[in-house]
Structures are given as structure tokens and as C-alpha cells.
């Protein structure tokens, strides 16, 4: 990862301090990182991807990934919250109408609007490009009644981007992405969140009912696929991979610091071939993901929207997600074997390896690897030439 621009690093420093301070408690209670989000609001970083003409920091996708990665060294949940907010902002920046951008983006840049993502639906397993939630056009409004089994940070978001069927849709693939502010809808939290890891994401089941103005659609009605291919899917995979990489790299760094401390050096044989081999393997996994993430981010930013719809790029970004979700937890596993039961398996140890492992266990399930392999199998058949990007 390239070093962060000094001005961004200065904005990020208090966020990292706050997130680090509350990470254990947020994990223990499965509670949203409220203090971390407040620090993100105050830092201006919620507006990282907002263009300067709307008051934002004019940051790049590379900046988003670097910041997510650094937050994830402290707390993967807080990093996921940040990365997914960035994905919503990018969708608005690139696909909302100018009128909607002018109305929303200055608030995002000021830190007033943390954006939640409402794409899950019971029975479709997170599949982005279909919906069963019908909507009705009523004058200038779209009426909707949307249930979502998992909404990351949903109870704390100020506004949402949600997928619903376009008004008058004739098939389940005519999906619209709609922007809605919390006070425009009746927003209910239907249940709790008590998972194995990434507990701070507080990803609760929710219901949204009411009506939003018809022009609060992002992209054309029924054409969410275009937003998905151009922004939503790539930034999900890039952003999540950056979070997982940050968590694994943070775990490795803390382990190395411990091993090199005077006390540990006296206790352990740092020339042990087993120890060196395990360190090498952990580092190799982390560097593999780093190389792939960095390459995929470079490719993404160099492609036209049309090329992002092609098989070679989609194969690469899907493979990045699968690889990161396998290699990052594997690196932490390696470290746990290396340091043993006390430092590696007990809760609330300074290395926090057990939390990192629990958090990273979610990676293969967060948009399931099984489904991505099926997609990549089909995409491979569409690319007989095996065009590598």
C-alpha cells in the first residue's frame, strides 16, 4: 500500500485512536462503533469520495481502500462500516442526477449523512440484481414497503440506498436503486445481531415503509444493473478485501512486535525453523492479497464503464474477493498456531488474534464464495481467449 497523503493521514489519526479504543467493547457487546462513526463524521472522511465542488475531499478509490485498510488494523467492523459507506457515496457521485447530488453530497461531506445499504432480501441470498419488493408510483412519489434481513449499521444510518423493483416492473430483474433519508420513511429495527464475528457492524433486520420522491432514484429506474457493474459490485469486493487485508496485516504486525520484544526474545528461539516458516507463510498470504488488491484497484480505475461489464474484469474482481476471503483468515490461523493458546486463543489478549479470526470467518460468507465461483465458472466459458487484465 502506498503511504497515505499526509493531509488524509492527519484526518485519519483521531479516527484510528477512537476506533482502537472502543474495538473490544464494541465486539463484546455486539454494538455499533458509535464513537468511531462520530470521529469519522468529524474528520471529514465520510466525504472522502465526494468531489470538491460539493465540499468533499475529492479522494480516489485508492484512498478509500487505504483508509479502510488502516481502520481494519484496529477494528474490522468499523472498517466495513466505513468502506460500505464509501460504496454508497460512489454510487451517488457517479449515477445520481445532478439535482440529487447537489441535495445530498454536501451533507455527506459535512459528516451529517452516514449512508446505509439495503440490498439484502429474504430468499434471494444477497443476490444483488433481483428484488421481490414491488413499488407503486403515486403522483410524484414511489410507495414502498421493504424488509431486509441484514442491514449493516442500519439502526445508525441517516439515509439509505435501497434496491426495490421499479414501479410497474414486469420481471424481478427490473431493479431500481432508491435514495431515502431516515425521516422520509417509517424505519423499524425488527431484531438483534449476535454473530460470531464482525459484531460491531450491528447488521440488523429492518423494515422500511412509506414513500419517497420519484426522482430520488440513482441511475435510471429498472437499471440498477448498470450501477452494480460500474460501482456497486467492484467497490464491494475491493472495499471488503481491503478490510480483510488490514485485519490480517494488523494481526501480523502485532505478532511480530510481540516476538521481537525483549521478554519474548528471551523466551523463544527466533531461529526456530518452524517459527520462521510460519511467519513466512503468514506474510506470503498477506502479500498475495496486497498484490491482487493493488492490481485490481489499478485496473478498475483505468477501465471504461463498458469494459467493467466485460468478463475479464469481472473474473478478476470476483477472484480478488474469493482469494482475500481465504488468504486473510488463513494468515491469522497461521499466527495462532505460531503463538499458541494463551496469546492466540484466549479472548482479550493484546494480540486480539481470536477476534481477528472470528471477524475474518465472515469473509467467505459475505456474498458467498460458492456463488462467486459459479459466476466465475460461467464467465470463464465466455472468455475462451483467457484475456488477462
Amino acid at each position: 500500500m502506498k503511504a497515505l497523503d499526509p493531509a488524509l493521514a492527519a484526518r485519519l489519526a483521531p479516527v484510528l485512536a477512537t476506533v482502537g479504543q472502543h474495538a473490544a467493547e464494541s465486539d463484546e457487546k455486539a454494538s455499533f462503533p458509535v464513537e468511531g462513526l462520530t470521529a469519522m463524521r468529524n474528520s471529514g472522511l465520510l466525504g472522502l469520495l465526494v468531489p470538491a465542488r460539493y465540499g468533499g475531499l475529492d479522494g480516489t478509490v485508492h484512498d478509500l481502500l487505504a483508509v479502510s485498510q488502516l481502520i481494519a488494523r484496529q477494528d474490522m467492523s468499523a472498517a466495513m462500516v466505513f468502506a460500505m459507506h464509501g460504496q454508497q457515496v460512489a454510487a451517488l457521485v457517479h449515477h445520481a442526477s445532478e439535482e440529487l447530488r447537489e441535495r445530498v453530497l454536501p451533507g455527506v461531506a459535512r459528516g451529517d449523512l452516514y449512508l446505509g445499504s439495503v440490498t439484502t432480501e429474504a430468499g434471494k441470498g444477497g443476490h444483488l440484481l433481483s428484488s421481490e419488493t414491488g413499488t407503486r408510483r403515486e403522483g410524484d412519489l414511489i410507495e414502498l414497503d421493504r424488509m431486509a434481513p441484514i442491514v449493516t449499521g442500519g439502526a445508525h444510518a441517516d439515509a439509505y440506498l435501497m434496491t426495490v423493483l421499479a414501479p410497474g416492473a414486469g420481471s424481478d430483474g427490473q431493479v431500481s436503486l432508491v435514495y431515502a433519508e431516515r425521516d422520509q420513511l417509517d424505519v423499524q429495527v425488527l431484531g438483534g445481531w449476535d454473530p460470531m464475528g464482525m459484531r460491531g457492524t450491528h447488521s440488523v433486520p429492518m423494515r422500511f415503509t412509506g414513500a419517497v420522491p420519484h426522482d430520488q432514484v440513482v441511475g435510471a429506474h429498472g437499471d440498477f444493473r448498470r450501477v452494480t457493474v460500474d460501482v456497486f459490485a467492484p467497490l464491494a469486493h475491493l472495499g471488503w478485501s481491503a478490510c480483510w487485508l488490514g485485519t490480517a496485516a494488523g494481526a501480523l504486525s502485532r505478532t511480530l512486535r510481540m516476538l521481537r520484544s525483549p521478554d519474548e526474545r528471551r523466551r523463544r528461539d527466533l531461529k526456530s525453523e518452524l517459527l520462521l516458516t510460519r511467519l513466512s507463510r503468514a506474510r506470503q498470504r498477506v502479500d498475495t492479497v496486497q498484490a491482487m488488491l493493488s492490481h485490481a484497484a489499478d485496473v478498475y480505475t483505468s477501465l471504461s464503464e463498458r469494459e467493467r461489464g466485460g468478463a475479464p474484469w469481472q473474473l478478476l474482481v470476483n477472484a480478488l474477493k474469493v482469494t482475500a476471503s481465504e488468504q486473510c483468515p488463513a494468515a491469522v490461523e497461521e499466527l495462532i498456531e505460531l503463538v499458541g493458546l494463551r496469546h492466540g486463543y484466549l479472548r482479550n489478549q493484546p494480540l486480539t488474534l481470536e477476534r481477528a479470526l472470528r471477524d475474518l470467518r465472515s469473509a467467505s460468507l459475505n456474498y458467498g464464495n460458492d456463488r462467486l465461483h459459479l459466476a466465475n465458472g460461467s464467465l470463464s466459458l465466455l472468455d475462451q481467449e483467457t484475456t488477462l487484465v
Binding site: 427490473q174 461489464g309 468478463a311
Partner: protein, 85 residues
Amino acid sequence: MDQPFVDTLRPHLRYLAPEQELRPEDRLRDLGLNSMQAIDLVFDLEDNCGVTLPDDQLTDANFETAGALWSAVENARSDSLTDAR
């Protein structure tokens, strides 16, 4: 769009009613074609219409509407005729 082409497409479009005519401007994804099925459609076009779409023609844009896909098929046909000469 000739009949073999329309007949090849129809089974992949579950939202196209049996009596409904397929028009060039109809959007294939709105009629039920998804990316997982695209490869099956490519195979059916090869088997039923005798045309192989080159990899660089398997783009989102060419699968956007029935008419766009028909143009891609026509282009692939004329390219293969040119090659044969």
C-alpha cells in the same frame, strides 16, 4: 431478426409470454435473461443458428436488447463469410 434466432432466444426469456412478439428494442434482462444464462444462450446460438460469437462480442451492450444481439449475430456471420473467401 429471423425465426431461428427468435426461437433460440425465447426459451431463455421467461418473462416473454408465449403469444408475445419479440421486438428488437426489447431489453433481454427485463425479459429474464441473467448473466448465468448468457453462456447457455451463446451455445444455443451456435447449435441452432450456426454462428459463433467471438469473445470480444460477448459484451453487456450486445446482450442489452434483442436487436443488439441480432446485430452481433449478423456481424459474426458476415465476418465468417469473409474469412471463408
